[in-house]
Symmetry: C2
Subunit: 331 residues, 2 copies
Amino acid sequence: MRVLITGAAGFIGQKLTRDLLARPVLPDGQGREQEITELLLLDQVEPPEPPGAGSGPRTTGITGDLATAADLLRDRAKPVGTVAHLAAVVSAGAEADFDLGYRVNLDGTRGLLEACRSQPTPPRFLFASSVAVFGGALPPVVRDDTAPVPQTSYGAQKLVGEVLVNDYSRKGLIDGRTLRLPTIVVRPGKPNRAASTFASSIIREPLQGAEAVCPVPTETGMWVLSPRATVAAFRHALELPAQRLAGNRTITLPGQTVSVADMVEALRRAGGDRAVGRIRFERDPMIAAIVASWPARFAPERALELGFKADPDFDSVVAAFVEDDLPGGVR
Amino acid sequence: MRVLITGAAGFIGQKLTRDLLARPVLPDGQGREQEITELLLLDQVEPPEPPGAGSGPRTTGITGDLATAADLLRDRAKPVGTVAHLAAVVSAGAEADFDLGYRVNLDGTRGLLEACRSQPTPPRFLFASSVAVFGGALPPVVRDDTAPVPQTSYGAQKLVGEVLVNDYSRKGLIDGRTLRLPTIVVRPGKPNRAASTFASSIIREPLQGAEAVCPVPTETGMWVLSPRATVAAFRHALELPAQRLAGNRTITLPGQTVSVADMVEALRRAGGDRAVGRIRFERDPMIAAIVASWPARFAPERALELGFKADPDFDSVVAAFVEDDLPGGVR
């Protein structure tokens, strides 16, 4: 089976690639385990050579946009059994550039779905959505049947993608699975422009001897999932039989509700007072307001019934980061 | 103020046209009453000359599709203050022709919204959506915060339109208002291919001396609104100040829950046993199953707070039909 990953150079794309290389099998539409023969790793920048590539499935890096991805899917001679569509213009970017956000996040996703219709059999299609589909007046706990009313263009575009994945699946044109991701913490790498970036920085930087700024009050609650659990959820979603998703392909993933204070205490247990001393608490009212507007409590009953799992606690999230992303260990 | 109506040849389009001609004023973006100077009546077939045209606003019939409508909106020299976007490929049509449904209901709507960006000021934009956005496992009473999970392409396309109208409004590109319409009863004219068509036929035909078939059990519940109340809701939506819709432009309209038995008794009160005797009860299991899957109970609290009104009872629905659409009276 050939697998296409869009956004393969992103940190989740790289981790998913590594996971598929480590265990290169996925079920086909009939639930039969198929060996992955090739990973098509597409991104706008050349995806880095995955560690461990060479043995097992072939990995092919492709530099291009979602139109390039659609071209690949239209090539019936090289059938693609599974698509993991992770590429997107992120929240702040889609808000700053309305046209770019719609072109990539809506038209790009639609173009991929349309191209899937050229495939000899409907591909399994994993779509990364986000709890950013929720906004405005929300109940204290977001349920599976709570109406999403996005308050950003990114959330609107992700919601449209969810609706399309559902309808194309209902029509048998793809076999879709949409996961609404919590805030992913701890992201490896550098801070980015997302309002949530601090939540990774206040763990990642101090554990490497560097300073980080916390712009929100410590009582702020967040709904979080580790990169490791996110990749496990992607694989689980790709392995679920379609009949278990009847009528609705959208799954709000489980996560955990933590306060920033909880996160800081987990940092203390992992890196001591010295690590915590590297956090500067400097309130940024704008970021604090944005983060406070995000729902922090969910009851993701359907996902739990389907066997998706959150991290057991925030110490595990920190431990997974140290194991997976700090080869030099805690400084 | 110039007003553009898409789907102007449809029965609701015609009734809205008549209503705007009868009282040709609408508020502009600043809430100031503006005289309607011209009605642009667009449809794929030539909209009939509205009765009463000639005095008051100019009416211009335009034969074309939504691309034609978008061209009109891109003409800055003839600004359009209000758009009523009623045109759509209906439920059965969008289910039968997937590509046509997406082209008209999604791309066509998006094209109109994009064209609105050419206008000198963001037009007020009324979008006719439908309770067809709801489907699958639903609570006994659909609330304003119940998640829509469409089970038809029509419902999916309408939901995408809702999300776009919200996001374009949030960005200040239009001043949108989306109404989720109940099943509209009693439709004038001929039966169509909709599964709901019987609900109008069993009133309309017997009151004109003709037979009608009822394909569902009489205990079947439906969520209905009269054409007269629908047009009143359209005008109310166009008159509401934007600040009352903050954060969410989508409104599930009030309606009434009636059983088919209730409808038949209202027919008896209007047309006697003779009228009721013209209904043949012939169960069609397929139609019965489709209609039974539709939600029949809603708690449209937001709409009621905003001043939208349902018909007081089903007798009023029948009476409005006789007054508005049976110039010859009951036979």
